[in-house]
Protein backbone atom coordinates (compact mmCIF):
# COMPACT_ATOMS: atom_id res chain seq x y z
CA UNK A 1 0.00 0.00 0.00
CA UNK A 2 1.24 3.44 -0.93
CA UNK A 3 1.94 5.69 2.02
CA UNK A 4 1.14 8.85 0.07
CA UNK A 5 -2.45 10.04 0.16
CA UNK A 6 -4.49 9.01 -2.83
CA UNK A 7 -6.32 11.59 -4.92
CA UNK A 8 -9.63 10.29 -3.61
CA UNK A 9 -8.65 10.96 -0.02
CA UNK A 10 -7.34 14.43 -0.86
CA UNK A 11 -10.52 15.40 -2.67
CA UNK A 12 -12.61 13.94 0.14
CA UNK A 13 -10.82 15.90 2.82
CA UNK A 14 -10.85 19.04 0.69
CA UNK A 15 -14.61 18.68 0.32
CA UNK A 16 -15.02 18.38 4.07
CA UNK A 17 -12.93 21.49 4.58
CA UNK A 18 -15.05 23.33 2.04
CA UNK A 19 -18.16 22.23 3.92
CA UNK A 20 -16.67 23.52 7.17
CA UNK A 21 -16.03 26.89 5.58
CA UNK A 22 -19.41 27.09 3.87
CA UNK A 23 -21.22 29.21 6.50
CA UNK A 24 -18.48 31.80 6.15
CA UNK A 25 -19.13 31.94 2.42
CA UNK A 26 -22.86 32.20 3.06
CA UNK A 27 -22.29 35.05 5.49
CA UNK A 28 -20.21 36.92 2.97
CA UNK A 29 -22.45 36.40 -0.07
CA UNK A 30 -25.77 36.35 1.72
CA UNK A 31 -27.02 33.29 -0.21
CA UNK A 32 -28.88 31.75 2.68
CA UNK A 33 -30.48 29.10 0.55
CA UNK A 34 -27.04 27.51 0.14
CA UNK A 35 -27.00 26.83 3.86
CA UNK A 36 -30.37 25.13 3.64
CA UNK A 37 -29.29 23.11 0.63
CA UNK A 38 -26.03 21.96 2.15
CA UNK A 39 -27.60 21.10 5.49
CA UNK A 40 -29.84 18.76 3.55
CA UNK A 41 -26.86 17.40 1.64
CA UNK A 42 -24.91 16.76 4.84
CA UNK A 43 -27.83 14.95 6.47
CA UNK A 44 -28.50 12.78 3.44
CA UNK A 45 -24.75 12.09 3.23
CA UNK A 46 -25.05 10.49 6.68
CA UNK A 47 -27.85 8.29 5.33
CA UNK A 48 -25.67 7.47 2.31
CA UNK A 49 -22.73 6.57 4.58
CA UNK A 50 -24.97 4.10 6.40
CA UNK A 51 -26.24 2.55 3.17
CA UNK A 52 -22.76 2.39 1.65
CA UNK A 53 -21.67 0.40 4.69
CA UNK A 54 -24.05 -2.46 4.02
CA UNK A 55 -24.28 -2.09 0.26
CA UNK A 56 -20.74 -1.20 -0.75
CA UNK A 57 -18.84 -3.11 1.89
CA UNK A 58 -21.38 -5.71 2.93
CA UNK A 59 -22.91 -6.43 -0.46
CA UNK A 60 -26.43 -6.23 0.96
CA UNK A 61 -28.63 -4.41 -1.49
CA UNK A 62 -31.32 -2.99 0.73
CA UNK A 63 -34.08 -1.28 -1.20
CA UNK A 64 -35.84 -0.19 1.95
CA UNK A 65 -33.29 2.04 3.56
CA UNK A 66 -35.49 5.13 3.38
CA UNK A 67 -37.68 3.46 5.99
CA UNK A 68 -35.11 4.42 8.62
CA UNK A 69 -35.25 8.06 7.57
CA UNK A 70 -38.97 7.84 8.16
CA UNK A 71 -38.68 5.97 11.45
CA UNK A 72 -36.13 8.40 12.85
CA UNK A 73 -38.14 11.35 11.57
CA UNK A 74 -41.44 10.12 12.92
CA UNK A 75 -39.92 9.28 16.27
CA UNK A 76 -39.06 12.95 16.60
CA UNK A 77 -42.34 14.08 15.06
CA UNK A 78 -44.65 11.89 17.08
CA UNK A 79 -42.92 12.61 20.35
CA UNK A 80 -42.95 16.33 19.61
CA UNK A 81 -46.67 16.13 18.79
CA UNK A 82 -47.32 14.41 22.09
CA UNK A 83 -45.45 17.11 23.95
CA UNK A 84 -42.08 15.42 24.39
CA UNK A 85 -39.68 17.86 22.82
CA UNK A 86 -36.47 16.94 24.60
CA UNK A 87 -33.86 15.74 22.17
CA UNK A 88 -32.41 13.59 24.95
CA UNK A 89 -35.56 11.48 24.72
CA UNK A 90 -36.43 11.84 21.04
CA UNK A 91 -33.10 10.95 19.52
CA UNK A 92 -32.38 7.82 21.58
CA UNK A 93 -35.92 6.67 20.80
CA UNK A 94 -35.28 7.30 17.10
CA UNK A 95 -32.09 5.23 17.27
CA UNK A 96 -33.65 2.48 19.32
CA UNK A 97 -36.72 2.02 17.14
CA UNK A 98 -34.53 2.06 14.02
CA UNK A 99 -32.28 -0.58 15.55
CA UNK A 100 -35.20 -2.78 16.50
CA UNK A 101 -36.79 -2.47 13.07
CA UNK A 102 -33.46 -3.34 11.46
CA UNK A 103 -33.04 -6.30 13.79
CA UNK A 104 -36.45 -7.79 13.06
CA UNK A 105 -36.59 -7.11 9.33
CA UNK A 106 -32.93 -7.95 8.90
CA UNK A 107 -33.31 -11.27 10.70
CA UNK A 108 -36.00 -12.25 8.20
CA UNK A 109 -34.57 -10.62 5.07
CA UNK A 110 -31.06 -12.00 5.50
CA UNK A 111 -32.38 -15.50 5.12
CA UNK A 112 -32.76 -14.64 1.42
CA UNK A 113 -30.29 -13.64 -1.27
CA UNK A 114 -29.94 -11.53 -4.37
CA UNK A 115 -33.09 -10.11 -5.88
CA UNK A 116 -35.25 -11.77 -3.23
CA UNK A 117 -33.38 -9.79 -0.61
CA UNK A 118 -34.01 -6.64 -2.60
CA UNK A 119 -37.74 -7.38 -2.78
CA UNK A 120 -38.19 -8.28 0.82
CA UNK A 121 -36.40 -5.17 2.11
CA UNK A 122 -38.55 -3.18 -0.27
CA UNK A 123 -41.66 -4.84 1.08
CA UNK A 124 -40.82 -4.13 4.70
CA UNK A 125 -40.20 -0.48 3.91
CA UNK A 126 -43.49 -0.23 2.06
CA UNK A 127 -45.18 -1.77 5.06
CA UNK A 128 -43.92 1.02 7.28
CA UNK A 129 -45.02 3.51 4.66
CA UNK A 130 -48.55 2.15 4.76
CA UNK A 131 -48.61 1.92 8.55
CA UNK A 132 -47.57 5.53 8.92
CA UNK A 133 -49.91 6.71 6.17
CA UNK A 134 -52.69 4.99 8.07
CA UNK A 135 -52.05 6.84 11.31
CA UNK A 136 -54.77 9.46 11.13
CA UNK A 137 -53.75 10.98 14.43
CA UNK A 138 -50.32 11.86 13.08
CA UNK A 139 -51.49 13.34 9.83
CA UNK A 140 -51.68 10.19 7.71
CA UNK A 141 -50.89 10.96 4.10
CA UNK A 142 -50.62 14.68 4.70
CA UNK A 143 -47.78 14.41 7.14
CA UNK A 144 -47.07 16.03 10.46
CA UNK A 145 -45.69 19.47 11.16
CA UNK A 146 -43.13 19.78 13.92
CA UNK A 147 -43.74 22.88 15.94
CA UNK A 148 -40.60 22.82 17.97
CA UNK A 149 -37.23 21.33 17.13
CA UNK A 150 -35.49 18.85 19.44
CA UNK A 151 -34.54 20.61 22.62
CA UNK A 152 -31.18 20.10 24.21
CA UNK A 153 -29.51 22.09 26.95
CA UNK A 154 -28.28 25.62 26.22
CA UNK A 155 -26.23 26.77 24.37
CA UNK A 156 -27.32 24.09 21.85
CA UNK A 157 -30.15 25.52 19.80
CA UNK A 158 -31.18 23.60 16.74
CA UNK A 159 -33.31 26.47 15.49
CA UNK A 160 -30.13 28.41 14.83
CA UNK A 161 -29.45 27.42 11.25
CA UNK A 162 -25.68 27.80 11.40
CA UNK A 163 -25.41 25.90 14.64
CA UNK A 164 -27.63 23.16 13.29
CA UNK A 165 -25.50 22.93 10.16
CA UNK A 166 -22.33 22.46 12.18
CA UNK A 167 -23.96 19.85 14.39
CA UNK A 168 -24.99 17.89 11.31
CA UNK A 169 -21.55 18.30 9.77
CA UNK A 170 -19.88 17.11 12.96
CA UNK A 171 -22.13 14.07 13.00
CA UNK A 172 -21.26 13.42 9.34
CA UNK A 173 -17.53 13.53 10.04
CA UNK A 174 -18.01 11.27 13.05
CA UNK A 175 -20.04 8.85 10.92
CA UNK A 176 -17.44 8.70 8.16
CA UNK A 177 -14.69 8.11 10.69
CA UNK A 178 -16.64 5.52 12.64
CA UNK A 179 -17.59 3.54 9.56
CA UNK A 180 -14.01 3.75 8.30
CA UNK A 181 -12.74 2.21 11.51
CA UNK A 182 -15.41 -0.49 11.52
CA UNK A 183 -14.73 -1.39 7.89
CA UNK A 184 -11.05 -2.06 8.63
CA UNK A 185 -11.67 -3.96 11.83
CA UNK A 186 -12.09 -7.71 12.14
CA UNK A 187 -15.83 -7.23 11.89
CA UNK A 188 -15.48 -5.14 8.75
CA UNK A 189 -13.21 -7.65 7.07
CA UNK A 190 -15.63 -10.44 7.93
CA UNK A 191 -18.40 -8.42 6.32
CA UNK A 192 -16.32 -7.76 3.22
CA UNK A 193 -15.44 -11.41 3.00
CA UNK A 194 -19.12 -12.28 3.15
CA UNK A 195 -19.76 -9.86 0.30
CA UNK A 196 -16.92 -11.25 -1.74
CA UNK A 197 -17.75 -14.93 -1.30
CA UNK A 198 -20.29 -15.92 1.32
CA UNK A 199 -19.99 -19.67 0.73
CA UNK A 200 -16.24 -19.56 1.22
CA UNK A 201 -16.63 -17.57 4.40
CA UNK A 202 -18.89 -20.21 5.87
CA UNK A 203 -16.58 -22.96 4.66
CA UNK A 204 -13.62 -21.46 6.48
CA UNK A 205 -15.61 -21.08 9.63
CA UNK A 206 -17.50 -17.79 9.75
CA UNK A 207 -21.16 -17.82 10.77
CA UNK A 208 -21.82 -15.04 8.28
CA UNK A 209 -25.49 -14.51 9.15
CA UNK A 210 -24.78 -12.94 12.53
CA UNK A 211 -22.19 -10.56 11.12
CA UNK A 212 -24.43 -9.43 8.29
CA UNK A 213 -27.31 -8.91 10.69
CA UNK A 214 -25.13 -6.83 13.00
CA UNK A 215 -23.97 -4.71 10.07
CA UNK A 216 -27.58 -4.30 8.98
CA UNK A 217 -28.56 -3.05 12.43
CA UNK A 218 -25.65 -0.62 12.59
CA UNK A 219 -26.61 0.82 9.21
CA UNK A 220 -30.28 1.13 10.14
CA UNK A 221 -29.48 2.88 13.40
CA UNK A 222 -27.18 5.39 11.73
CA UNK A 223 -29.81 6.13 9.12
CA UNK A 224 -32.36 6.61 11.90
CA UNK A 225 -30.12 9.36 13.21
CA UNK A 226 -30.23 10.96 9.78
CA UNK A 227 -34.01 10.71 9.96
CA UNK A 228 -34.13 12.55 13.26
CA UNK A 229 -31.91 15.25 11.77
CA UNK A 230 -33.98 15.69 8.66
CA UNK A 231 -37.14 16.01 10.70
CA UNK A 232 -35.52 18.88 12.52
CA UNK A 233 -34.30 20.38 9.26
CA UNK A 234 -37.64 20.43 7.47
CA UNK A 235 -39.82 20.80 10.58
CA UNK A 236 -42.08 18.30 8.90
CA UNK A 237 -42.41 14.56 8.41
CA UNK A 238 -44.57 12.64 5.98
CA UNK A 239 -44.95 9.07 4.75
CA UNK A 240 -43.42 10.15 1.44
CA UNK A 241 -40.05 10.16 3.22
CA UNK A 242 -40.09 6.39 3.13
CA UNK A 243 -41.70 5.66 -0.19
CA UNK A 244 -39.62 3.13 -2.05
CA UNK A 245 -38.46 5.60 -4.66
CA UNK A 246 -36.68 7.51 -1.87
CA UNK A 247 -34.72 4.36 -1.14
CA UNK A 248 -33.83 4.42 -4.80
CA UNK A 249 -32.48 7.97 -4.43
CA UNK A 250 -30.21 6.81 -1.62
CA UNK A 251 -28.92 3.95 -3.71
CA UNK A 252 -28.22 6.35 -6.58
CA UNK A 253 -26.17 8.51 -4.22
CA UNK A 254 -24.11 5.57 -3.06
CA UNK A 255 -23.48 4.23 -6.55
CA UNK A 256 -22.83 7.63 -8.09
CA UNK A 257 -20.32 8.44 -5.40
CA UNK A 258 -18.61 5.09 -5.56
CA UNK A 259 -19.67 1.99 -3.65
CA UNK A 260 -17.40 0.60 -1.01
CA UNK A 261 -15.22 3.66 -0.59
CA UNK A 262 -14.71 5.98 2.36
CA UNK A 263 -15.74 9.25 0.76
CA UNK A 264 -17.99 7.83 -1.92
CA UNK A 265 -21.26 8.50 -0.06
CA UNK A 266 -20.22 12.12 0.50
CA UNK A 267 -19.31 12.53 -3.17
CA UNK A 268 -22.60 10.96 -4.15
CA UNK A 269 -24.78 13.08 -1.91
CA UNK A 270 -23.09 16.28 -3.00
CA UNK A 271 -23.10 15.31 -6.66
CA UNK A 272 -26.71 14.21 -6.78
CA UNK A 273 -28.22 17.09 -4.85
CA UNK A 274 -26.06 19.76 -6.46
CA UNK A 275 -26.86 18.25 -9.85
CA UNK A 276 -30.56 18.41 -8.98
CA UNK A 277 -30.26 22.08 -8.07
CA UNK A 278 -28.25 22.99 -11.13
CA UNK A 279 -30.31 20.99 -13.58
CA UNK A 280 -33.63 22.19 -12.21
CA UNK A 281 -32.38 25.70 -12.74
CA UNK A 282 -31.89 24.89 -16.41
CA UNK A 283 -35.06 22.99 -17.00
CA UNK A 284 -37.89 21.79 -14.84
CA UNK A 285 -37.63 18.46 -16.62
CA UNK A 286 -34.16 17.77 -15.23
CA UNK A 287 -34.94 14.15 -14.37
CA UNK A 288 -34.94 13.46 -18.09
CA UNK A 289 -31.22 14.03 -17.90
CA UNK A 290 -30.68 12.31 -14.57
CA UNK A 291 -32.36 9.10 -15.67
CA UNK A 292 -30.15 8.35 -18.67
CA UNK A 293 -27.15 9.69 -16.72
CA UNK A 294 -27.72 6.99 -14.15
CA UNK A 295 -27.96 4.41 -16.91
CA UNK A 296 -24.65 5.61 -18.35
CA UNK A 297 -22.95 5.50 -14.95
CA UNK A 298 -24.10 1.93 -14.46
CA UNK A 299 -22.90 0.89 -17.89
CA UNK A 300 -19.60 2.75 -18.10
CA UNK A 301 -18.52 4.23 -14.77
CA UNK A 302 -19.55 1.55 -12.32
CA UNK A 303 -17.08 2.70 -9.71
CA UNK A 304 -18.72 6.09 -9.49
CA UNK A 305 -16.89 9.30 -8.74
CA UNK A 306 -14.52 7.64 -6.33
CA UNK A 307 -13.67 5.09 -8.99
CA UNK A 308 -12.93 7.80 -11.54
CA UNK A 309 -10.68 9.61 -9.09
CA UNK A 310 -8.91 6.37 -8.37
CA UNK A 311 -8.15 5.90 -12.06
CA UNK A 312 -6.50 9.28 -12.44
CA UNK A 313 -3.17 8.10 -11.10
CA UNK A 314 -2.33 4.67 -12.51
CA UNK A 315 0.06 2.85 -10.22
Amino acid sequence: MNRALSLRTIVGIALLVALILLPVYVEVTGSRFLLTLFTRIVILAIAAVSLNFILGYGGMMSFGHAAYLGIGGYAVGILAFEGVTSGFVQWPVALLVSALFALVTGALSLRTRGVYFIMITLAFAQMTYYIVAGLARYGGDDGLTIQKRSQFIAPINLSNKVQFYYICLALLCASIYLIWRIVNSRFGLALQGARSNDTRMRAIGFPTYRYKLTGFVIAGTLCGLAGALIANHTDFVSPAMMYWTRSGDLIIMVVLGGMGSTFGPLFGAVALLVLEEVLSGITEYWQIILGPLLLLVVLFARGGIDGLLGKVRQR
Partner: protein
Protein backbone atom coordinates in the same frame (compact mmCIF):
# COMPACT_ATOMS: atom_id res chain seq x y z
CA UNK B 1 -4.96 -46.58 15.02
CA UNK B 2 -8.38 -45.00 15.37
CA UNK B 3 -10.18 -43.57 12.37
CA UNK B 4 -10.23 -39.81 12.29
CA UNK B 5 -13.03 -39.66 9.76
CA UNK B 6 -15.51 -42.31 8.87
CA UNK B 7 -18.89 -42.55 7.18
CA UNK B 8 -21.71 -45.04 7.52
CA UNK B 9 -23.93 -45.81 4.55
CA UNK B 10 -23.85 -42.31 3.20
CA UNK B 11 -26.42 -41.71 0.46
CA UNK B 12 -27.44 -38.78 -1.70
CA UNK B 13 -29.67 -38.48 -4.73
CA UNK B 14 -30.42 -35.57 -7.04
CA UNK B 15 -33.77 -36.39 -8.55
CA UNK B 16 -33.13 -39.58 -10.50
CA UNK B 17 -29.38 -39.50 -10.16
CA UNK B 18 -27.68 -41.43 -7.38
CA UNK B 19 -24.62 -39.40 -6.46
CA UNK B 20 -23.66 -41.25 -3.32
CA UNK B 21 -24.68 -44.87 -2.79
CA UNK B 22 -24.29 -46.60 0.58
CA UNK B 23 -20.82 -45.16 0.91
CA UNK B 24 -18.52 -46.40 3.65
CA UNK B 25 -15.23 -44.63 4.16
CA UNK B 26 -12.59 -45.03 6.87
CA UNK B 27 -9.70 -42.65 7.14
CA UNK B 28 -7.05 -43.35 9.71
CA UNK B 29 -5.42 -40.64 11.74
CA UNK B 30 -2.28 -39.35 10.05
CA UNK B 31 -2.73 -40.99 6.69
CA UNK B 32 -3.11 -39.53 3.24
CA UNK B 33 -6.14 -41.22 1.80
CA UNK B 34 -6.86 -40.75 -1.90
CA UNK B 35 -10.30 -41.06 -3.46
CA UNK B 36 -10.28 -41.71 -7.19
CA UNK B 37 -12.87 -42.58 -9.77
CA UNK B 38 -14.10 -41.65 -13.23
CA UNK B 39 -15.89 -38.38 -13.85
CA UNK B 40 -19.36 -38.39 -12.40
CA UNK B 41 -18.39 -40.85 -9.70
CA UNK B 42 -19.60 -38.43 -7.03
CA UNK B 43 -16.27 -37.36 -5.59
CA UNK B 44 -17.09 -33.69 -5.27
CA UNK B 45 -20.52 -34.56 -3.87
CA UNK B 46 -18.74 -36.66 -1.27
CA UNK B 47 -16.52 -33.77 -0.23
CA UNK B 48 -19.51 -31.46 -0.15
CA UNK B 49 -21.24 -33.78 2.30
CA UNK B 50 -18.15 -34.27 4.43
CA UNK B 51 -17.56 -30.53 4.69
CA UNK B 52 -21.21 -29.68 5.35
CA UNK B 53 -22.08 -27.86 2.15
CA UNK B 54 -24.61 -30.56 1.24
CA UNK B 55 -26.77 -32.61 3.57
CA UNK B 56 -26.82 -36.34 2.88
CA UNK B 57 -30.19 -38.02 2.40
CA UNK B 58 -29.20 -40.77 4.83
CA UNK B 59 -26.18 -42.14 6.63
CA UNK B 60 -23.81 -40.71 9.20
CA UNK B 61 -20.45 -38.97 9.28
CA UNK B 62 -18.09 -39.16 12.25
CA UNK B 63 -15.10 -36.93 12.79
CA UNK B 64 -12.77 -37.35 15.75
CA UNK B 65 -15.48 -39.32 17.48
CA UNK B 66 -18.19 -36.68 16.94
CA UNK B 67 -21.28 -37.24 14.84
CA UNK B 68 -21.04 -34.27 12.51
CA UNK B 69 -23.79 -35.28 10.08
CA UNK B 70 -26.03 -32.37 11.00
CA UNK B 71 -23.38 -29.79 11.81
CA UNK B 72 -23.16 -26.64 9.68
CA UNK B 73 -19.98 -25.86 7.76
CA UNK B 74 -18.51 -23.40 10.15
CA UNK B 75 -18.82 -25.75 13.13
CA UNK B 76 -17.00 -28.53 11.27
CA UNK B 77 -14.33 -26.03 10.39
CA UNK B 78 -13.99 -25.14 14.05
CA UNK B 79 -13.58 -28.85 14.88
CA UNK B 80 -10.58 -28.99 12.57
CA UNK B 81 -12.00 -30.19 9.26
CA UNK B 82 -10.93 -27.88 6.44
CA UNK B 83 -11.55 -28.13 2.72
CA UNK B 84 -10.25 -26.69 -0.50
CA UNK B 85 -12.46 -26.20 -3.53
CA UNK B 86 -12.19 -27.82 -6.94
CA UNK B 87 -13.44 -24.69 -8.63
CA UNK B 88 -11.46 -21.81 -7.30
CA UNK B 89 -13.52 -20.08 -4.65
CA UNK B 90 -11.52 -17.18 -3.31
CA UNK B 91 -12.06 -13.60 -2.28
CA UNK B 92 -10.98 -12.24 -5.62
CA UNK B 93 -11.36 -8.58 -4.81
CA UNK B 94 -9.26 -8.83 -1.64
CA UNK B 95 -5.49 -9.21 -1.47
CA UNK B 96 -3.80 -12.60 -1.32
CA UNK B 97 -2.74 -11.96 2.25
CA UNK B 98 -6.26 -10.79 3.17
CA UNK B 99 -7.60 -14.08 1.82
CA UNK B 100 -5.44 -16.18 4.09
CA UNK B 101 -5.76 -13.79 7.02
CA UNK B 102 -9.54 -14.23 6.87
CA UNK B 103 -9.06 -17.97 7.19
CA UNK B 104 -6.89 -17.33 10.25
CA UNK B 105 -9.41 -14.86 11.65
CA UNK B 106 -12.14 -17.48 11.47
CA UNK B 107 -10.27 -19.53 14.05
CA UNK B 108 -8.91 -16.81 16.26
CA UNK B 109 -11.75 -15.87 18.52
CA UNK B 110 -14.85 -14.03 17.37
CA UNK B 111 -15.07 -11.18 14.93
CA UNK B 112 -17.14 -8.73 16.91
CA UNK B 113 -14.22 -6.37 17.12
CA UNK B 114 -15.13 -3.04 15.59
CA UNK B 115 -12.31 -0.67 16.24
CA UNK B 116 -8.79 -1.96 15.76
CA UNK B 117 -7.31 -2.32 12.28
CA UNK B 118 -7.36 -6.04 11.61
CA UNK B 119 -4.70 -5.71 8.92
CA UNK B 120 -2.25 -4.68 11.62
CA UNK B 121 -2.90 -7.53 14.02
CA UNK B 122 0.13 -9.80 14.24
CA UNK B 123 -2.12 -12.53 15.61
CA UNK B 124 -3.82 -12.63 12.22
CA UNK B 125 -1.10 -11.54 9.82
CA UNK B 126 1.79 -13.70 11.06
CA UNK B 127 0.11 -17.10 10.69
CA UNK B 128 -1.23 -15.91 7.32
CA UNK B 129 2.27 -15.10 6.09
CA UNK B 130 3.50 -18.43 7.41
CA UNK B 131 0.83 -20.32 5.47
CA UNK B 132 1.68 -18.39 2.31
CA UNK B 133 5.34 -19.21 2.78
CA UNK B 134 4.42 -22.89 3.15
CA UNK B 135 2.90 -22.96 -0.32
CA UNK B 136 5.44 -20.61 -1.86
CA UNK B 137 3.31 -17.52 -2.43
CA UNK B 138 5.05 -15.02 -0.14
CA UNK B 139 6.11 -12.79 -3.00
CA UNK B 140 2.51 -12.31 -4.13
CA UNK B 141 1.05 -11.48 -0.73
CA UNK B 142 -0.05 -7.91 -1.44
CA UNK B 143 -1.53 -8.43 -4.87
CA UNK B 144 -5.29 -8.70 -5.37
CA UNK B 145 -6.19 -12.37 -5.59
CA UNK B 146 -7.65 -11.78 -9.04
CA UNK B 147 -4.14 -11.01 -10.34
CA UNK B 148 -2.85 -14.53 -9.69
CA UNK B 149 -2.49 -17.27 -12.26
CA UNK B 150 -4.61 -20.38 -12.10
CA UNK B 151 -1.79 -22.42 -10.59
CA UNK B 152 -1.23 -19.78 -7.94
CA UNK B 153 -4.95 -19.83 -7.15
CA UNK B 154 -4.68 -23.54 -6.38
CA UNK B 155 -1.76 -22.77 -4.07
CA UNK B 156 -3.75 -20.04 -2.39
CA UNK B 157 -6.61 -22.47 -1.91
CA UNK B 158 -4.25 -24.74 -0.04
CA UNK B 159 -2.83 -21.89 2.04
CA UNK B 160 -6.33 -20.93 3.14
CA UNK B 161 -7.16 -24.47 4.12
CA UNK B 162 -3.95 -24.57 6.15
CA UNK B 163 -4.53 -21.24 7.85
CA UNK B 164 -7.27 -22.64 10.03
CA UNK B 165 -4.74 -25.09 11.56
CA UNK B 166 -6.89 -28.07 10.74
CA UNK B 167 -6.46 -31.65 11.86
CA UNK B 168 -7.69 -32.88 8.53
CA UNK B 169 -7.76 -31.51 5.01
CA UNK B 170 -10.35 -32.34 2.37
CA UNK B 171 -8.61 -31.54 -0.91
CA UNK B 172 -10.76 -31.46 -4.02
CA UNK B 173 -8.49 -31.83 -7.07
CA UNK B 174 -5.74 -29.46 -5.94
CA UNK B 175 -3.80 -30.28 -9.12
CA UNK B 176 -6.63 -29.34 -11.47
CA UNK B 177 -5.28 -27.39 -14.41
CA UNK B 178 -1.67 -27.34 -13.18
CA UNK B 179 1.29 -27.75 -15.51
CA UNK B 180 4.09 -30.29 -14.78
CA UNK B 181 6.28 -27.91 -12.79
CA UNK B 182 3.41 -26.63 -10.67
CA UNK B 183 2.14 -30.17 -10.13
CA UNK B 184 5.55 -31.27 -8.90
CA UNK B 185 5.65 -28.39 -6.48
CA UNK B 186 2.17 -29.20 -5.22
CA UNK B 187 3.15 -32.85 -4.70
CA UNK B 188 6.20 -31.74 -2.72
CA UNK B 189 4.07 -29.43 -0.58
CA UNK B 190 1.55 -32.19 0.08
CA UNK B 191 4.26 -34.67 0.96
CA UNK B 192 5.50 -32.16 3.48
CA UNK B 193 2.03 -31.59 4.93
CA UNK B 194 1.40 -35.33 5.23
CA UNK B 195 3.69 -35.40 8.23
CA UNK B 196 1.43 -33.23 10.36
CA UNK B 197 -2.06 -33.64 8.98
CA UNK B 198 -4.56 -36.24 7.88
CA UNK B 199 -5.52 -35.66 4.27
CA UNK B 200 -8.36 -36.84 2.08
CA UNK B 201 -7.25 -36.27 -1.48
CA UNK B 202 -9.63 -36.38 -4.41
CA UNK B 203 -7.54 -36.40 -7.58
CA UNK B 204 -7.36 -37.40 -11.23
CA UNK B 205 -3.60 -37.09 -11.49
CA UNK B 206 -2.61 -40.74 -11.00
CA UNK B 207 1.10 -40.06 -10.69
CA UNK B 208 0.46 -37.78 -7.75
CA UNK B 209 -2.02 -40.21 -6.21
CA UNK B 210 0.33 -43.16 -6.30
CA UNK B 211 3.24 -41.04 -5.13
CA UNK B 212 1.43 -39.70 -2.07
CA UNK B 213 -1.34 -42.03 -0.95
CA UNK B 214 -1.11 -44.41 2.01
CA UNK B 215 -4.46 -45.88 1.02
CA UNK B 216 -6.78 -45.44 -1.93
CA UNK B 217 -10.55 -45.76 -2.25
CA UNK B 218 -12.11 -46.15 -5.68
CA UNK B 219 -15.53 -44.68 -6.37
CA UNK B 220 -17.77 -45.55 -9.30
CA UNK B 221 -21.34 -44.19 -9.60
CA UNK B 222 -21.21 -43.10 -5.99
CA UNK B 223 -20.28 -46.52 -4.71
CA UNK B 224 -17.00 -47.83 -3.26
CA UNK B 225 -15.76 -50.66 -5.44
CA UNK B 226 -12.36 -51.09 -3.83
CA UNK B 227 -10.33 -49.73 -0.95
CA UNK B 228 -6.81 -50.54 0.20
CA UNK B 229 -3.09 -50.01 -0.29
CA UNK B 230 -1.92 -48.49 -3.58
CA UNK B 231 -0.28 -51.72 -4.74
CA UNK B 232 -3.48 -53.71 -4.19
CA UNK B 233 -5.55 -51.13 -6.01
CA UNK B 234 -3.22 -51.07 -8.97
CA UNK B 235 -3.56 -54.83 -9.30
CA UNK B 236 -7.31 -54.97 -8.72
CA UNK B 237 -8.98 -56.15 -11.92
CA UNK B 238 -12.31 -54.45 -11.29
CA UNK B 239 -10.60 -51.13 -10.74
CA UNK B 240 -8.54 -51.58 -13.87
CA UNK B 241 -11.62 -52.12 -15.97
CA UNK B 242 -13.59 -49.32 -14.48
CA UNK B 243 -10.97 -46.69 -14.32
CA UNK B 244 -7.27 -47.29 -14.41
CA UNK B 245 -7.44 -49.11 -17.73
CA UNK B 246 -7.92 -45.94 -19.75
CA UNK B 247 -5.39 -44.10 -17.60
CA UNK B 248 -2.70 -46.78 -18.03
CA UNK B 249 -3.12 -46.62 -21.78
CA UNK B 250 -2.57 -42.88 -21.73
CA UNK B 251 0.42 -43.12 -19.39
CA UNK B 252 2.10 -45.79 -21.51
Amino acid sequence: MADLLRTESLAKRFGGIVATDDLVLNIANGELHAVIGPNGAGKTTLIAQLSGQLAPDSGRIYFAGNDITAMPMYVRSALGLARSFQITSLFLDLSVLDNVALAVQAHTGHSFHFWHNARREPELRDPARAALARVGLSARADLPASALSHGEHRQLELAMALASKPRMLLLDEPMAGLGPQESARMVATLRDLKKELTILLVEHDMEAVFALADRITVLVYGRVIASGKPGDIRNNAQVRDAYLGEQEAVHA
